[in-house]
């Protein structure tokens, strides 16, 4: 039996809500509708009623040829009994054509991983809220929250024709996840309250995930872009090791077993030019590098990512058909060409060199992109995201290098004052062309986790007088000749350091404007334009004062909390020491003394065992504390800045007018690119 639970309320009406934003910015925001660039969220329909399924099947001409020559079994035999039937957004498409895109090199594997988004058990639909069956046809959580069951599609096959079964989950669990040489530490997705869970095969098509304590959150984790639910393409490429399942029939030869010792494996690996067997496994299980690797997504790699062109072709065993029985995908393949800089990528997109590109497109170039629409024969869509802040100023609560600075970073009124001193409309106009929503970092209003009316504005509107009053009230009254407030310990100017990385958004530039606004209330902030990995090294070492980043992923707090609260030491801008303390269950790091911070972490820990409704309330509670305390100052969010400016060739059909932009929507993969096609 199947229980498709609607993930908190529908997101469908998101656009309308955002457009009717309460505060009217400088240049009226509802004018955004005028642009005609923001469409309605729409997506494919997955037909789950077998009565409506097609009974005869079709395949791409090139596959038909292979069948004719005997190189491939007939399409009926390649498709599973439990079919995935997809009704495209528009019409039944036609086969052919290579989808051209741009990518930036091997570090950009997400560019392709996302296209393979259907290779996970459950995938949310275009609303970002409703989970839909993918590899699994159904799933259920037991009453006690200790057993989660996946029902796999019967007859589903890997891209090499081998069956995909529960054994592939067990293989991952025992031979990859279970091998400390590959995965040294258990992942939190499998260890509620620090107690390791198990993956157990019930039968060929039924997999149980068993836990010792109630773990209702697991169901949600399975639907997100998480370590356990994320699927093979993203979770096992680029040295990653999670994913929940793996092609055991292929990878077994590369991991230690009863028949093969580590020494033998090492010898083999060295002979092939790898340092050791782990290095070889990382290569072999990476679909972007190894064309031999069996996959489940609509495409498979032909020319690996570490070339000037990353080329994929259709997976002949892909397990989805359209409503007319045509095996998907329609595209013959995908070809991504490497570019050395994003200006070139954007220019090529404008020249019509790419058929559909949303990744790496720069919102700041929108006027130029629009200008070239006709010449480049493309249409522009603006897809708004659901996260609350594209630029959030996270104050390091565990900073200890300078006690005076630490004193102010941990002072609530100080943070509130700095938040009130930010003129968000200015930022929105300058960097988001006025299309984003100013306010606190809370997730979008249409999301269940939105804490409620008033929390978008709380401490997050422009009020320099109040900011000055607050700063005076906490004792920062002395100023120097240029109007900057002075430290209370040695009378020198109080100088904060904002660490900004030039990455997804021009954060250094944005911070220059914020610094200018803080200057108006007498606070000097030095913007440090820092190279990305250096910035991460510094934050992990607890050396930053304030770090600016986005809070992408926090729209569903439990699936990706690290940009909202300090729970993951790899990225804990709000307090690396707290994160260490939290992640190690108190063994390392430092416990928060601040009762509010402590409360947040306790609430978050307790949520894993809570059922959906209760969990949502907990999340709202966490957001309220976060916003009231302003540990992270949100500026502007719910924008198209990240993958939301979409250039679509007019030759393409079945393209949704608005995509879901969120971590778990796997933009654009969540929109099922296998249903897109060339009209001519």
């Amino acid at each position: 039996m199947r229980s498709i639970r609607r993930l908190p309320a529908a997101l469908g009406a998101a656009a309308a809500v955002i457009l009717a934003s309460p505060s009217e910015p400088v240049w009226a925001q509802n004018a955004l509708a005028e642009s005609g660039l923001i469409g309605e969220l729409e997506g494919v329909t997955i037909i789950t009623d077998p009565a409506q399924w097609p009974t005869s099947f079709n395949e791409a001409p090139e596959l038909a040829e292979m069948v004719a020559s005997g190189a491939l079994p007939p399409v009926e035999e390649r498709l599973p009994e439990d079919l995935m039937v997809i009704q495209p957004v528009g019409e039944i498409g036609q086969y052919g054509g290579i989808w051209r895109r741009g990518f930036t090199g091997p570090g950009d594997n997400e560019n392709g991983n996302r296209i393979q988004a259907s290779d996970r058990p459950i995938l949310v639909d275009h609303t970002g809220a409703t989970p839909r069956p993918s590899l699994a046809k159904g799933w259920q959580m037991s009453e006690d929250g200790k057993t989660f069951t996946l029902n796999l599609r019967r007859g589903l096959k890997w891209s090499d024709g081998d069956p995909f079964t529960a054994d592939d989950f067990v293989f991952w669990y025992e031979d990859i996840y279970g091998n400390p040489d590959i995965v040294p530490t258990p992942i939190p997705d499998m260890t509620p309250e620090g107690k390791p869970g198990r993956i157990v095969k019930a039968d060929d098509y039924t997999v149980n995930f068993e836990f010792d304590v109630p773990f209702f959150l697991f169901e949600e984790l399975m639907m997100g872009d998480t370590l356990i639910g994320g699927g093979q393409a993203v979770r096992q490429s680029d040295k990653r090791t999670a994913g929940g399942y793996a092609p055991g029939h292929y990878l077994a030869q590369y991991v230690p077993s009863d028949t093969k010792s580590v020494e033998e494996l090492d010898a083999e690996a060295k002979a092939e030019g790898f340092d050791n067997w782990v290095a070889r496994l990382h290569f072999k299980k990476d679909w972007t590098l190894n064309p031999e690797l069996p996959v489940l997504g609509p495409f498979r790699t032909v020319q690996p990512i570490n070339n000037a062109n990353w080329v994929m072709e259709r997976n002949p065993y892909y397990w989805a058909v359209d409503t007319a029985g045509n095996q998907l995908p329609y595209f013959d393949g995908v070809a991504m060409s490497v570019v050395e800089n994003l200006e070139v990528l954007n220019l090529r997109a404008m020249a019509g060199d790419y058929d559909l590109q949303e990744r790496h497109i720069d919102l700041g170039k929108l006027p130029v992109i629009l200008e070239n629409q006709e010449a480049g024969n493309y249409t522009v869509h603006l897809d708004l995201a659901f996260n609350g802040a594209d630029a959030i100023y996270q104050f390091n609560q565990t900073y200890d290098a300078d006690p005076e600075i630490a004193k102010w970073l941990t002072n609530t009124d100080f943070r509130r004052a700095l938040s009130l001193a930010i003129d968000r409309d200015q930022l929105n106009e300058t960097f988001w062309l006025g299309v984003a929503t100013p306010g606190s970092p809370a997730p979008g209003e249409v999301l269940p986790y939105f804490p409620g009316e008033g929390w978008r504005e709380k401490w997050s509107t422009y009020d320099p007088d109040e900011a000055n009053r607050l700063l005076d009230s906490i004792g920062l009254t002395e100023k120097d000749a240029e109007g900057y407030r002075l430290r209370t310990d040695n009378g020198e100017r109080l100088r904060l350091e904002v660490q900004a990385v030039q990455a997804f958004l021009p954060w250094p530039r944005i911070s220059e404007m914020v610094a200018d606004q803080w200057r108006q209330v007498g606070i000097q902030a030095d913007v440090k334009d820092t190279e990305r990995s250096l910035a991460f090294t510094r934050t992990q070492a607890n050396e930053h004062q304030i770090m600016v980043w986005n809070n992408g992923g926090t729209e569903l707090l439990y699936l990706f909390p690290r940009h909202a609260i300090p729970v993951d030491p790899t990225e804990a801008f709000m307090g690396p020491e707290f994160a260490k303390w939290y992640a190690s269950n108190g063994a390392q790091g430092r416990a928060p003394e601040d009762p509010n911070m402590l409360k947040i972490l306790e609430l978050f820990r307790s949520a894993a065992g809570q059922k959906s409704e209760e969990r949502i309330e907990t999340a709202k509670e966490i957001w309220k504390i976060l916003i009231d305390q302003q540990y992270g100052i949100g500026t502007v969010g719910q924008s198209p800045a990240l993958m939301g400016v979409r250039l679509v060739s007019n030759k393409l059909g079945n393209i949704p007018s608005r995509n879901c932009i969120a971590q778990h929507c796997r933009t654009p993969g969540g929109a099922h690119p296998e249903t897109w096609y060339f009209k001519e």
Binding site: L227, E343, R532, S533, F536
Partner: protein, 330 residues
């Protein structure tokens, strides 16, 4: 003579060794290592790497060992012709560099030829016709080439090409040849894409060479032997070409070897802007990602190429200027 050359060879080897040490140090200079930058990159995909996993990765790459041990291991392999695996690309370094090295050399040589082709005649002309209108005009053009930042010029030309001529944007190949295997058509396609980057690269170096050539030649022309030659009624162009030009080439020749790193450095920037598949952008990315074997190999290869270039230029210097040959100390 032979001893001199042998000595230079030995010195060249020592230089190569020093370059290998320095390139290794340069790559290690920035704080953090490949694992840090790898973790930083993952942040976008929502993956996390635990401290234990990070340590395991460091162990796998040998990053947790002291720097001299790492250097030793690296050098040991390099001497056997194995430059190691690129951490970011997951492929042997030489394979990653592959075609890019040749394309870099092709572009650099095209740029150098263009530089010389422009600079030498103008330099000679400017010296012979000092203070003439043409001298000023050539000088001005040369200097403008030097003065315009080439990254800006590259972007402007690329944008104008896109906007008004529908030209291919960046790259060294047309889209149809991008995926194709090597053929004469592809070589021709490459040749047709060369002039723009070569021209932009050449611009920067031309003014300097014009300057040096002009200055040196002016010095030579004022020497008594030139007056003597003139007095004896030799043809003017012969007077100039026979000795003064050759002598003026002396300091010029000594810089040939160094043109290569100069052009390569320039090509990093231009390649980045024009998205050319040369080693430049690769090197830049490897340095940022702290992919030390890849970055180390590129710096080392370019360094060694330069040493070879210098060696050749020293030989040329000997041939050009007998005085230096005579003054050779062992």
């Amino acid at each position: 003579m032979i001893t001199y050359i042998t000595r230079r060879l030995v010195l060249a080897l020592v230089t190569c060794w020093a370059i290998s040490v320095i390139s290794f140090i340069i790559i290690q200079l920035p704080p953090g290592d490949f694992v840090n930058s790898y973790i930083a990159n993952l942040s976008a995909s929502g993956s996390m790497v635990s401290a234990a996993e990070a340590d395991a990765m460091r162990e796998q790459y040998g990053l947790n060992r002291p720097i001299w041990v790492q250097y030793g291991k690296w050098m040991g392999r390099v001497l056997q012709g194995d430059f190691g695996m690129s951490m970011e690309w997951g492929r042997p370094v030489l394979e990653v560099i592959g075609d890019r090295l040749w394309l870099t050399i092709v572009i650099s040589i095209a740029a150098i030829i263009l530089t010389w082709g422009i600079a030498l005649p103008i330099g000679i002309y400017s010296a012979v016709r000092q203070y003439s209108i043409a001298d000023y005009i050539f000088t001005l053009i040369g200097f403008i080439g030097l003065a315009v930042p080439n990254f800006l010029l590259a972007l402007i030309i690329m944008y104008l090409g896109f906007k008004y001529f529908g030209a291919n944007i960046g790259g060294l190949f047309s889209p149809e040849y991008d995926l194709a295997p090597w053929s004469w058509d592809k070589v021709w396609d490459l040749m047709s894409h060369l002039p723009l980057p070569a021209f932009i690269l050449a611009l920067a170096g031309t003014a300097q060479l014009i300057r040096i050539m002009r200055a040196n030649l002016l010095d030579e022309l004022r020497r008594p032997y030139v007056t003597t030659a003139r007095a004896r009624g030799l043809q003017e162009w012969r007077v100039i070409m026979k000795y003064p030009v050759r002598a003026a080439l002396n300091p010029f020749a000594s810089t040939i070897g160094y043109l290569l790193p100069f052009v390569v450095s320039g090509s990093i920037v231009v390649s980045l802007v024009l998205s050319l598949p040369t080693v430049g952008p690769l090197l830049l990315r490897a340095l940022v990602a702290q992919d030390m074997f890849l970055a180390g190999a590129i710096v080392l290869l370019l360094g060694v190429l330069t040493v070879i270039g210098t060696f050749l230029s020293d030989l040329m210097l000997m041939w050009i200027d007998p005085r230096i040959r005579a003054g050779m100390h062992g």
